[in-house]
Subunit: 197 residues, 2 copies
Amino acid sequence: MKNPRLKQQIEFIVEIDRLKRIFRQNVVIGTEEQENDAEHSWHLAVMAVLLTEYSAEALNTLRVLKMLLVHDLVEIYAGDTFCYDEKGNLDKLEREQKAADKLFNLLPSDQAQEIMDLWQEFEAVETPEARYAASLDRLQPLLLNYNTFGHTWQKPGITSQNVWKRNQLLKEPVPELWELVQEIIEDSIEKGYLKRF
Amino acid sequence: MKNPRLKQQIEFIVEIDRLKRIFRQNVVIGTEEQENDAEHSWHLAVMAVLLTEYSAEALNTLRVLKMLLVHDLVEIYAGDTFCYDEKGNLDKLEREQKAADKLFNLLPSDQAQEIMDLWQEFEAVETPEARYAASLDRLQPLLLNYNTFGHTWQKPGITSQNVWKRNQLLKEPVPELWELVQEIIEDSIEKGYLKRF
């Protein structure tokens, strides 16, 4: 390849194929197959297109989409950390920052910086775009759990309190979706998908 | 759910989870697992973010991303048609239009129309955004095949002529990527991943 910049970009594009092999706790609806990060990222991005009207703040949708498309890439080297795994979450940031440095620097430096900025913005949850993206990142697994008889919620130690707490993030960025989440949690308890306490 | 509009949107979001179960001809790099449409759509969207500089025409990147995120949704009801299956491609458009009518109309009518417009624009390949998106939709499986010893290209009847013809679409929208494709085809023939004739 004559163009070294294009060569780097293609190497990165090939490397991130591995996101399709990073498995999450959820299963795909109607199957026993664990969802992977690439599927999850796609699903979030479509949700982001369809649900902007519920954002309490004006959004740059392009930035939201870019953020969601790359938000889990670090897991290629750092692995998926289960959101209710307290021990795993202690060194999560350090592991993921290392992974980001390694992975994003496969790209030409301007693009490495762009992806790093998007990832850090997502992680910090301080901009309207990041708050909206983070809200969807919580709503999507909740929808999957609700439609798979509470698959992930059946794991030992998980109760409605955990789910409630984790989803409180939606309250301000997307108030109407937060109402929906509360309804789903309540209905899931009634249906036996989720333990109340 | 109090809001019937949100109810429709959530039903659609849950229904399209099925895209994760629509399998393609390619395998995921380093595995024997067939890639699915959700993974493919995510991969294309990231490529679209990274490769805009190669487009011969100015692009609305947000429109490109929306188009790529939804371009294969019709396959949930219509199935994946192998690009080199001449018979399957005869009634492809009719099957997919039916699927689009059924699937997109789960959404509130304004959003059903938006997604229909995006899908039809992608299929028509007449705008800069659609030409760029369609180019990536050809480049991505080529990259996967090149990195899996020509997995799909090993099927009976496929030669470099088929691959060459299919990828000619890249010539004008992304000339530098078309050069790359030609290099990859030539190298794949040399490596025995692809039959010359």
